[in-house]
Structure formats: structure tokens, C-alpha cells
Symmetry: C3
Subunit: 354 residues, 3 copies
């Protein structure tokens, strides 16, 4: 049945030496997503995108019912990878090539698998970078999303030899033709009910949008979200330990900020109906309970989608800040350093009616 | 498709000048209510009214399953009106003629529309009062509830001329025969399972009931509730801004207090199975996280319901206080001013078995 | 219909004199458990046991869909007993003979009934101990769980005579053959997806496991949980009163700590798929918001289950502490007193694949 069992009953997580190229990891804790999770997602992030809010609106676009928020699916798939990939991580360094491939509905059961696609020991000999491609799979065996992330992981034994360095060749930007075809047909998209009049044609490359609103995060909120995603990273939950640590505070899961930024972006990008892909994401600075999150976006690129005249793709950079409204569009200064208020820099594709 | 689009991508909300008599507003963000929302409602307010708690109990009264709490439906319908009606409101002045017309079930999708029925500029020339009748509609196009509210809204330009003043003629009290016929048949109502022995006949006009229990509100709770309702009023969410504002605190959505008061009222009014109508409601003073809410009620009126011998209506005033138990039934003093602890004064009709 | 109605409209709860041997109490507020409650349970406790997390995983073991967590069912059944049994309780003294008899699924409606099986006035004449056997029943009339608890309850009138003392004869430990047959067939249990390799055979009597992780509790969290269970005990909710009381704080529902300890125990007991019974439980010390909960377990006994080769039972003691990691397995000292960090001592049976 089970062989080669570790002696310890508890999961120590993998250290840098435990990873090898092409290693496949089947992650634990399959999860049936439900209407309850969708309600919690709304309660925690206040999302208002209409397809995910209304079964009726979703049906008009060709869905069976309201699909769950793309990021809810992402966080659940991501959460499963934590016990195997990042329990001993020092830092979550980046994301790339994240593609949303298929709608997830309440009732679907998600599992995650990952493959190690890169390894590089750091020159200090204490840590190394692990690149994994993780895939979320539904109960039919269909891929619902796929992404690469890389994390800096501690070595168990600093004396262990460095593996051959393999750094994967990742797309800086997903080509629009590589985005999954959206299941949605926008011919009968109702802008009035959506609550925003502007469509794909109304946005210009270089345009900047201050999303205006701010949202303060409480400890109970980010912990409830992160537990909903069954993400077990210790830094989010244990004030007794973190109070004695680097920040003196529990650290908020970076995905919480991504979801808040996306929800805030409704005010200005209300018809950005789906996230089709994430090109890159960086958690520039830590976020703590009590911080108020603001966001602004810049349109980086506009792309037609193959064979589609009802919708197009916008490539967007959304910047989230803490305790700093975004009328001044804070990002990097002349010195190339991020503005001190910036906590998230996310580069992604959305699909929007045209 | 969409014409006359505003240049700004973000929603500035409507100012007093933007409203005109008979104006119809189709509000955004249709919302499918689910069992998840019902669970959150229970988690946040601790409601124990049996029809909404148990599908079995509800079926015995003739429902298909447990209808959602009347106030959950109200808050969702109300939330949709905020971006169009009260984003630039100074104050939410009152409610009237609120009628609960039809049961809302998990799976129903709610939308809201409003019609402007009154306008009156204030003498200071800076603000005006807008009266709207708002209607909540389900996916079959049926009205589920209807109410009037009036708000004080800022003018965009103080120099703009005042509109002709129109103040609607509103019923101070909904006549019992104008309440919607309840779908429930109380012949087989189980008082034991309901948890309270007293029926319609046991209450007397003038009777006062101290609901005894108190409930403290946390920031995470009122924000989760208000986001569940997709209510976007900024004052509830942004400590960074509100910390510098009038109160130095986030203001709790008035509807949160209504729901808490209703839940607390179970202890003393446990068989007040449904709210049939709200005659008037005033948020007398602001409420903040950390406040403990108490409530008491007075029976204002008893009414038979047309053609019904299984149930009757009670007109109730429920007063909610903060940090003040209600054994002394605090309300207005000899000077006509509300007791300093009073935060809510709600006049409404309930349906109760007899 | 209802006779002998109390004059007061509010529920004063029962005092010690109100109880008599063989008294049957039908508790109020039937409750339909839903997927929303399951989501909240996950959000609040971060549980990762796979049968309750995944409908697919559950079906492989022979369930129709994912059953709800045993403790969610317990807390809901328990909550209903509070208004009748422990509203005037000074202390919740113990549990025994708690048996989980049948899976509870979303959609099931639970009610509770209790029978008084013991009474003993305390020598101070001010309080007495009430023993009740409480049963949770689903909509088909099937018992889903059963347990005994005893509470110290205030007398209304100290002058009232003491009843004949009856102390029930309770099993210190439920015999393995008296545990309900599990509905699950573990032949196709997937250890990889479960996330833990160790099965029944891998545990040894006397083995101690430090569950490592810690979880900090917020006020909003324990109040949301306790309201979800419709548990009305006042001490959990009212800071205005409790702030002036013995602890100066709201007291956290003991069941909240049981659920947290069970969730933390996943790290080390990941295949302890179900709780089959609770032999004894003591809330050794109070728990407050801000406390970080840790847990450790000791294997007390291993038992085969009648006719089963796919699974076995482990009797476990799980100790939860506050603000104290459990590497030193804190419990009782040489003086027989509990370590000051210990807040829960729970003796229970789990079913585990073998």
C-alpha cells in the first residue's frame, strides 16, 4: 500500500535537496468547491463581476450556471501545493504562464499536481530556487488551470551538493493566441446589469485607471480566506510565533491581495469578465492586517482573440498599494525601486466584451 | 449597444442634479442567492427563526424549502441601489412602505430597479433629498420586495438650479390589508420546535419586551456582511480614510444593526416568523465595531389578516441600543430627544401564528 | 395548542429545580445543514480530512457525497441544547459516551432531544449538577449522534429542597464493539490524496505526536462559529457584559477549541478519517481571542473493529494548549495538576484505514 513511509508522523515539507528535475508531485486534499465557497469569496472580497455573481447572467453567456471566480479556483489549486512545495520556502518569488483553461462550477472537485521544471542553488549554499508547473484538475480529469511559480526553499543540509542548475525558459507574456478560448459568448452581454458601460474598444494602451476605493483587511478575514483555500503556510495563522518573528505580525497570503485588487478593479474595469491568464506577479512587499488596500491599473496591450468579434483581450498591470490611494499611480521611481506603498505588481490578461 | 458613455472609467455615482422625477434606474450586479449566503447570514447574526433555519419546518408551512431571511433579501436588493443612489449621500434619512411580497429561495437571482419619486433641494443649496421607490425582482420577473427610502445627496455644483420640489405622500403605516398575503399556512406550526410558546393572541398592545441578550460587533463581521450584500458604500470598508474622518472609525452599515436587532428579538418574539413590512426606520446614531448591541420592542398594534385565522400581524417598534441593556426601555426623553444609547428605531409588521 | 405558557416572553432558561429524572426536553430550532455551513467550517478551522473535503474521495469510500465533519454535526446538535440545559450553567463539566452513529450530509435537517439522567445538588446549596443524554436526529428520524454531558446549574431559589441524588453510571471508555459501524469502506482509500502515509498499523500505543502547527483565534471567528451552531450561551458574544466579568473577555465556546485541535491534528493523524466516539472531554482552562492554539496527541489504545480488516480504531488523547508549542507534550505535572497552558483534554476514538 504505502511504502517508504517517513518515520515522523508529521509533514516536515520538502527541502531543496528533496526536489529533482521532472519530479511529479500529486498534492493532497481534493476539494469539492461549493456555493458556500462562492459566498465566502464574495463576503471576503466583495467581488461584483456579474458572470460569477448571477446564474442568470452566466446562462446568457452560455454557461450552465455561474462559474466560480477564476481566482477562487486559483487559490484552491495553489493551496494544495503548499505542503509539498513551499512549507520550507523563504520567499515566493514569482508566477508565470498562468492560464485559466476551463470554467469551474460549484460541485466540481479540484486536485493539483506539480512537476519540477527548474532548480538552481543560491550562491550562499543555504537555499535554492525551485520552479514548478502546477496544474489544477477537475473530477473529469480536465485541466482547469496551469501555472508556473518559483520559490526560494531552504536546504535541509547546507553541505549537500548543488544539483545541476536548470532554469526554465518561461514566456514573459502569454501570447493572446495561447490563451484558452473563452466558453463565453458575449453577444448578449448586458452592460446595464454589469454596471459598467465601457467595452474593449473603449480602453487605450497606456491608459491608467485609479480604482479609487480602499479596503481594510482584518486578521479574521485573511485567515478565513486562507483556510478556505486549505493553504497551510504557517506564517498566516500563528501570532504566537510570528509575534516573535521578523515582522511581529502574521503575514497575509499574497493571493488575498490579488483577490482584493481584482475586486477593487471592478470600479474602472467592470467588464473585465474573466482573467484569462497571469503573465507575471510579484508580491513586492508584505501586507498585514490593518492595512488598507488600494489599486490602480494600466492597459499594457490590446489583443484580438482568434475568431472572435464579440470579445477581446486586454493585458493589464494592476498595482496594489497599502495605505496609499492611487491617484498618483505609484509604481517604480527613477531609481527603479518600487514606491514604498506598493505591495503587488500583477501583469495579466482579461477577456472583455467588445 | 452602450451610448453616451461617461469618459471616466470609474463610477462617480450620481449627484443631486443627476436625478429627475420618474427617472428609472436599473441597478447593476444581479445576484444569485445561495445556501452559502444563508449560512453566512446565520454565522453573522445568529438568527434562530425556524422557518428560515429548517427546510423541514418550512415545508410543514407550505414552502418548497427554507426561504431566506427577509432581511437577507432586503440587504441584497438594497446593496444594488447604493452605486446609483447613495454613493454621494451624506445621510440615509428614512425608509417607508417596505413590503415583503414573495419568498426568496436559495437559487433565486435578484436584481433591483428604482424610480425617483421625490426631490427637494435643501435650503443650504449644497445638498438635496432624493426619494426613490426600489423594487427587488427575481429571475421570473416577480417582485419580491418593494420599499421607499430617502437620502440626502450632495450636489455636484452648488450653482446648479434647484428642481421643482416634489415630496411624495407616503403612508406612515402600511395598512394590514396592504401587506402581501403570506405564503405560509400556520395550522401545523410547531411551537416546541420553534422554541417559543407565545402566539399572536398572547401579545398586548403597549407591551414592552426587553430582549435581554447583547451581541458585540467586530470589524470583520460587518465588513463581511456588507460585502455579501455587495453594498459598496465606502464608509464601511476603508479605515485609512475613515480614520481621518468625522468618527475616526469605519461606520457600520445600518442594515447590519437591523439584522442584529431582529435576531436578538427572537428572545421574546420567537414566533414572529416573517417580517411582512417595514413602516419606518431611522438610524438614530452611528454604530462602530466594538459596540455591543441590545434591543427591546414594544407592541404598537395588533391586526387580523384578511381571510386568515391561522395567523395575525403585530406591528412592533424595535429599538436597538449600543452598550446599554434595555431593561429600562430607553427611547425618547421628555425633551423628545433619543436616549444617547439608541441607534435604531424600527417600526414594522410581523406575521405570527395565532 | 400551547398550554401552561410562562408569563415572560423571554426565555429565562431552566434552573436546577426545573430538572427532574427522566425529563425529556425537545430542543428548539431545527437546522438544515448546508454546503454553506461546510464552507464556513473549513474557513474557520482549516480542516483537511479528505472524506469531508471531497465528494469524489467520499464516493470512493461508499458515501453518496462528502459527509459533514463529525464535529460540525456535534456542535449543531449541542447548540440546540443550550437554551434548555445550560443557559444558567456555571460550568460545563464533562462529556461521556458520545457516539457518532450516522453520516450527516448537506441537506439533512437536525433536531436535538435530551433526557435528564442524573441530578445531584452541590453541598453549597446554590448549584447542582445535571446529567443529560442528548441525541441528534435527522429528518428521517434517525439518530446521528448521542452523548452525555453534565453541567453545573444554578438554583433559582437556594431554599428549594435538594432532589434525590442520582448519578448515572457512565462508561469511562466506549468499548470498540459499541462504536457504530462506519459506513466507509477503506479498500480504495488513497493515501496520496489524503496527504498522509501512515495507517492504523503504523501507530503504537503510547506514541506521542506533536502536531506542530499553531492557530490564533480572533473574536470574529469564534463568534461566527458559535452563531453558526446557533449556540446562544451569552458569555461568547457580549463584550459589554463580559468586560465587567470574571475574565474581562468573551469566553470562547469550548467546542471551538475541540474543532481547532482536531484540525491541527491532521498533521500527524491525517488518516484519522472519522471521529467514532468521544470518551471524555474536559475544558481545563478558558480560551480567549488572541490565544494561539497548539495540540499534541497520545495513542491510548488500538482496537480492531468487528468484522473489519480495512480499518481499525485508535483511541487518542488530544491535548490543546494556548500560547505554548507542544514539543514537550505538556499535560499533568507530578502534582496531578494540568500544565498551565493546557486548555483541552479530549479522549476519543477515531477510525483509520489499515
Amino acid at each position: 500500500m504505502t511504502q517508504d513511509k517517513p518515520k515522523a508522523k508529521t509533514n516536515p515539507g520538502n527541502y531543496f535537496e528533496d526536489f529533482f528535475i521532472d519530479q511529479e508531485l500529486v498534492h493532497a486534499t481534493p476539494r469539492t468547491v461549493t456555493a458556500g465557497d462562492v459566498s465566502l469569496y464574495t463576503a471576503l472580497f466583495g467581488t461584483r463581476f456579474p458572470v460569477q455573481s448571477s446564474a442568470e447572467f452566466a446562462r446568457k453567456l452560455g454557461f450552465l450556471e455561474a462559474p466560480v471566480d477564476d481566482l477562487l479556483a486559483f487559490h484552491i489549486v495553489f493551496g494544495k501545493t503548499v505542503p509539498d512545495i513551499s512549507l520550507n520556502a523563504v520567499a515566493n518569488l514569482g508566477y508565470a504562464e498562468c492560464k485559466f483553461l476551463r470554467a469551474v462550477y460549484p460541485g466540481d472537485t479540484l486536485t493539483s499536481v506539480s512537476k519540477v521544471i527548474g532548480l538552481k542553488e543560491n550562491s550562499n549554499g543555504k537555499t535554492g530556487i525551485v520552479y514548478v508547473r502546477s496544474i489544477g484538475i477537475n473530477q473529469k480529469g480536465e485541466e482547469v488551470l496551469s501555472y508556473v511559480r518559483w520559490v526560494m526553499v531552504r536546504k535541509r543540509d547546507e553541505a549537500s551538493p548543488a544539483p545541476r542548475a536548470v532554469v526554465p525558459d518561461l514566456d514573459a507574456v502569454i501570447a493572446p493566441e495561447d490563451l484558452a478560448q473563452t466558453h463565453a459568448n458575449f453577444d448578449h452581454y448586458n452592460y446595464h446589469l454589469a454596471g459598467a458601460p465601457h467595452n474593449w474598444g473603449d480602453y487605450a494602451v497606456g491608459e491608467k485607471i485609479d480604482h479609487v476605493d480602499g479596503m481594510t483587511i482584518e486578521e479574521a478575514e485573511h485567515m478565513m480566506a486562507t483556510r478556505t483555500f486549505q493553504n497551510t503556510a504557517k506564517v498566516h495563522f500563528n501570532q504566537h510565533t510570528e509575534g516573535q518573528g521578523r515582522f511581529g505580525r502574521r503575514l497575509i497570503y499574497g493571493g488575498h491581495v490579488i483577490s482584493l485588487a481584482r475586486s477593487l478593479s471592478f470600479n474602472g474595469l467592470g467588464n473585465a469578465a474573466f482573467i484569462a491568464g497571469i503573465n507575471a506577479g510579484a508580491h513586492v512587499a508584505p501586507c498585514f492586517a490593518g492595512n488598507t488596500i488600494y489599486a490602480w491599473s494600466e492597459i499594457l496591450e490590446k489583443a484580438e482573440l482568434p475568431g472572435r468579434i464579440d470579445c477581446g483581450a486586454l493585458r493589464i498591470r494592476t498595482i496594489a498599494t497599502k495605505d496609499h490611494p492611487c491617484a498618483d499611480f505609484p509604481r517604480k521611481g527613477a531609481d527603479g525601486k518600487n514606491h514604498e506603498a506598493v505591495i503587488l505588481d500583477l501583469d495579466y490578461w482579461v477577456v472583455m466584451p467588445r
